[in-house]
Amino acid sequence: MPINGRQLEVSPRHETAVDVLRNELGLTGTKLVCGTGVCGACTIAVDGVPVASCVLPAGDLEAGDVVTIEGIAADGELHPVQKGFLAHDALQCGYCTPGFVVEAVAFYSRWRAERGMARPERQDIARALAGHLCRCGAYQGIYRAVADACAGAFDAGEVAAVRPDGEAKVTGAARYTTDIHVDAMVGRIIRSEVAHGTLVGVDAEGALTLDGVEAFLMLAKPSERIRFYGQPVAAVVANDETTARLAADRVAVVIEPLPSAVGADECQADDAPDVHGWWIPPSNNEAPTLPNVRRKNLVGPTIPAAPFSWRVDRRLARAGDDGRLIEGRWDTAVVSHTALEPHAAVAEWSPDGHLTVHLSTQGVGPNREELAEQLGVPLENVEVVAVHVGGAFGAKQSLGVEAVAAARLARLASRPVRVVFDRIEEMTVGGNRPGTSIDLAIGADNSHRLTAMKVRSVADSGASAGSLVASFLPRFVYPGAPRSLLDFDAVSNAPPGTAFRAPGGPPALFALEGAVEELAEKIGVAPIALRRSWNRRPLRKAMYDWVEGHPLWSTRVAPGGGRHRRGVGVAFGSWFQGHDPTAEVTVEAGPGGIRVVAGVQDLGNGTRAMLASAVAESFGVAAASIDVVIGGSRHGRGFMSSGSRTTSSLWPTARAAADQAAKSLAEQLPAVGLEGATVTDGGVLHADELLTWDELLPRLSRVVEKATRPPDHRALTRLPHRIGGLRFGRGLPESAHVVEVEVDIRLGSVRVLRVDTALAAGKIHAPEVARSQVYGGVCQGLGMALHEERRIDRLTGAVLTTNLEDYRLAGIGDTPEMQVHFIEWGFEHAAGGGTGLAELGIVAVPAAIAGAVAHATGVRFRRLPILPGEIVEAFG
């Protein structure tokens, strides 16, 4: 078969093309994600036509001229489309990127043949790329990359890649956990197929007698309570995927069923069983769950009620009497993280007992410690590696069963073992943001001041707890007035919720910002003016000023009565800022160049680009010349990439390590004849001549300097000191969005035309990847607002949205035009002057979109997602 221009002799053992490419030919640039031809990550070109190789008969590889991602730049010269992806930062985690690139290259060829150098419109690109999904939300860059490539911008010459790992990602060379040891033994997790029960026993006899089955182990304890469909029970390992699946099917799991309650309403019903008991559920937040008060399955409040809440009720009652009260219930659906790279681990033991686990994780360091503890292995014998991670969004923090199972099975089998969730597992137990039902009331006095706020959130948490919806953002964003903020978790027989980018934030602001808009309308005050009087912090004021100066907002007009109605909405968000004080970065510099090393990982958020920029700035050299080495626990003490802490923890630390390295290099200068030289910006000043480090390094000996995170100048906050290693810093970063939508009231569709964002997160150290983070936050927030909803069967507890057509991620055609405006002052007290923004970028997006839909339709939808059926029903 001719693949990428080479004739290969293969008699396929697999049925579909993707399995042949990946497992027999080792062409792992082609990714298997949905397995049902929906997401496009496995796209290859056969005779120039892009096709989904996950549903393509293997025989078709012999029928035509096949080009995979590895064949696009086979001669070493990047295709203009690939250069466009690098220059416009059209990728984040990169897992969908090979599929997009193969498709876009085919589009480029057709476009050039038919339209020459014309620049394609967004619609042209959207239609051609409609069969691809990107969970990170890199679509804005993809539009620009493809359009510019078609128009000839990258036909010749080099481009400056935004990301140090960009080239590996656009060529398919980047190897993710799922791409390591594709020939390893395959471990498969056996899971509960009931929602609630007690494990009686497991009979593995039928599996262990199969040819090719190596070992079996229990993951649950005898008599363990099963609380959700999909709960791990046991695991098997076999020579290949088919045998492992067959073996798993033959393991008989006996569970004594108990009456179950699936979902928040069900578990609160009078006749619901006691799901919770004395068990302490895992956290769906980043703070650990603590033993808590429970009334049957309703657990909480997460944070104890404030005293004097009777004052709140009294004030709200008065506001109600005066007609200045808004109260109601806002609901949001459960949404699934849906990283395109599933949870995956590949474990290998060396003969001397050293364990290496490749793991798709947000924290190689913390996961290493947990793994060593769980396995009872000395920490120094364990290494966790995550060179590339195909998306996480909060769901790859705590050590997963895949890592433990792979390590234990590999020990039993004495061979490397891979455990990779299939898409059904990933969509079932791969993580979800709990749904919420938020009762909220706010009242104003006759001067329009906020008099009281009451928020009671019940999270649809499945088998988890600890939600912080009411008691987090509503505490801070409109300060002053007394408030009662209570969070409860309805613990039920559904898969546990997990921290998901800004846990609790988007639902809280959907309710709160929606209520503020409703109140402004009710009492006849301009909505920004009302907010101005409620939150006067300087950065907030800058947000209000930005929105009021935005032409979309200042010129917004009534939507009219036609079929297509345009509306403009705004919403404002805040988030905390903090850092990990133990963050550690090493900088090495010498004749071999400059290298920055840290025991952290890049989930697609741009950690590598950010580290390179910090070191490059210190030395005054090009960021592209910095070698960035991360993605393994051996690279130093690491921390979790979560809580928007990566940049705030690493940038000042890398900068400090680089400054120290420059200083110790400077100590060598007298010895090379540069007596009296002084270090300055961009190099060394000697005899009034500026010598760059690029010139000097070949003459000096290598230095290695390690730094830990310098402290903030003012570190006092009222927030608890540390959660999960995160130290909260002073001041709240702020966000604002101006959104324009068009609603088709007859077909119920909502098109988000534009989302402009202002962010105040201090100094933006790496603007391109920071922008990409915001674009991604907008795309994910758009999905929450309009499309995403995990559905579950209430009887069995089985998740129903197990594929990427039933679970609906926003596609390229749904992507609005976006702009990001950074306000860079306000965090001078923080080391480096900047904060993180990953969560800030999503937190107010659903609220702003809902506001725009309300403006367009005159209907305030109080449930997310706002689906076509609901819009059409509202108009009869």
Binding site: E15, T16, G35, T36, G37, V38, G40, T43, V49, P50, V51, A52, C54, V55, L56, P57, E103, F107, R110, E114, D124, A126, R127, A128, A130, G131, E193, Y229, R245, I424, R746, L747, G748, S749, H787, R791, I792, D793, R794, L795, T796, A798, L800, N803, E805, D806, R808, G811, I812, G813, D814, P865, L867, P868, G869, E870, V872, E873, F875, G876
Partner: protein, 325 residues
């Protein structure tokens, strides 16, 4: 893997027929299909479009993208080409076939979930009826509540097209797919029945057509409700020979005869008449607990399809054939 060399061998072979493989391989990966594959793709006589004044014959193995872009189909049977160009994604249209699209299995999440059995997978219940059926039918015609997934079947129904099956049998779309009363079947072909082609009657001179699907996302989503309308305007102003078919609402695609009767003879500018005709689409609905939202949507989608057909605006929002895919 069995690779028959002609239709006779294919009829004799036992296993799961594979055309493009896009549905079959998705189901095999889910464990919903196993055993031998009977690969039909070498049967060249099942591939291609022939069209003349007497009608058109489209081979069952003809790819969806080919149908969407074939000049004779675009010219003579535009409701079919528009529908073909709007379904699924470019990658699927490039591989998926006419026969495979008509005979694909149900897309119900319960049917596709290995943890459930239902009427369609040999069980004796419909877990969606008692469970989550938000994407289900509003014409409750049988035990299974999932809508039929084939948009092409809906379009072909609007043309009174005929499926040609091995043994020289000719079936209408209703005969091919049944009436929804048998929940255990995705179609009415039996083991050993090979679809050969679809035959379309002569093109209607001056046909105006539109295809429309209501979806949440802009592109690449299964329709909540879909409709196709074809008609022509006598004297440029009077609706003549209208045909309306809808999908997403019943276990089989439906032809809406009563809507067609009401449309016939209406003026092109008679908006209220067209609105009344479209409203007839919902007179016989029997929505389920969670599918009520589809009722107004059906009426609106039908009306919009009629309006676009009358106005000669072929449904630009869904036409995806511009670049040849």
């Amino acid at each position: 893997m069995i690779r028959p060399g002609d239709v006779g061998e294919a009829v004799a072979a036992r296993g799961a027929y594979r055309a493009g493989g896009t549905d079959l391989h998705a189901r095999r990966r889910l464990g919903l299909s196993d055993g031998d594959i009977v690969d039909l793709r070498a049967l060249e006589e099942l591939r291609g479009v022939e069209a003349d004044a007497g009608g058109a014959r489209i081979g069952a193995l003809t790819r969806i993208a080919t149908i969407a872009g074939h000049p004779a189909v675009v010219e003579g049977w535009p409701a079919l080409s528009l529908t073909a160009g709007a379904l699924a994604t470019p990658q699927i249209r490039a591989v998926g076939t006419l026969g495979g699209n008509l005979l694909q299995h149900n897309r119900c999440p319960y049917y596709r979930h290995p943890g459930f059995t239902c009427y369609r997978s040999g069980g004796s219940s419909c877990p969606a009826r008692e469970g989550d059926h938000r994407h289900g039918v509003i014409f409750d015609l049988g035990p299974c509540v999932a809508p039929h997934p084939s948009s092409l079947a809906m379009a072909l129904m609007a043309y009174d097209a005929t499926a040609v099956v091995s043994g020289d049998r000719r079936l209408t779309m209703s005969q091919l797919l049944g009436d929804g009363s048998d929940g255990s079947r995705h179609h009415r072909l039996d083991e050993g029945d090979v679809m050969i082609a679809v035959e379309l009657p002569p093109a209607l001179l001056g046909e105006r057509a539109a295809y429309l699907r209501a979806t949440g996302r802009a592109l690449a989503e299964w329709p909540i409700v879909e409709a196709v309308c074809r008609l022509r305007l006598a004297g440029g102003s009077t609706i003549e020979r209208p045909a309306v078919a809808v999908g997403g609402v019943a276990p089989v695609p439906l032809r809406l005869n009563h809507v067609e009767e009401a449309l016939a003879g209406l003026g092109a500018a008679d908006l209220s008449g067209q609105e009344e005709a479209a409203a007839l689409s919902t007179t016989e609905v029997t929505p389920l607990a969670m599918t009520g939202h589809k009722v107004p949507l059906l009426r609106n989608v039908v009306l919009e399809a009629v309006r676009r057909a009358v106005e000669g605006d072929a449904g630009s929002e869904s036409a995806i054939g511009e670049l040849g895919l």
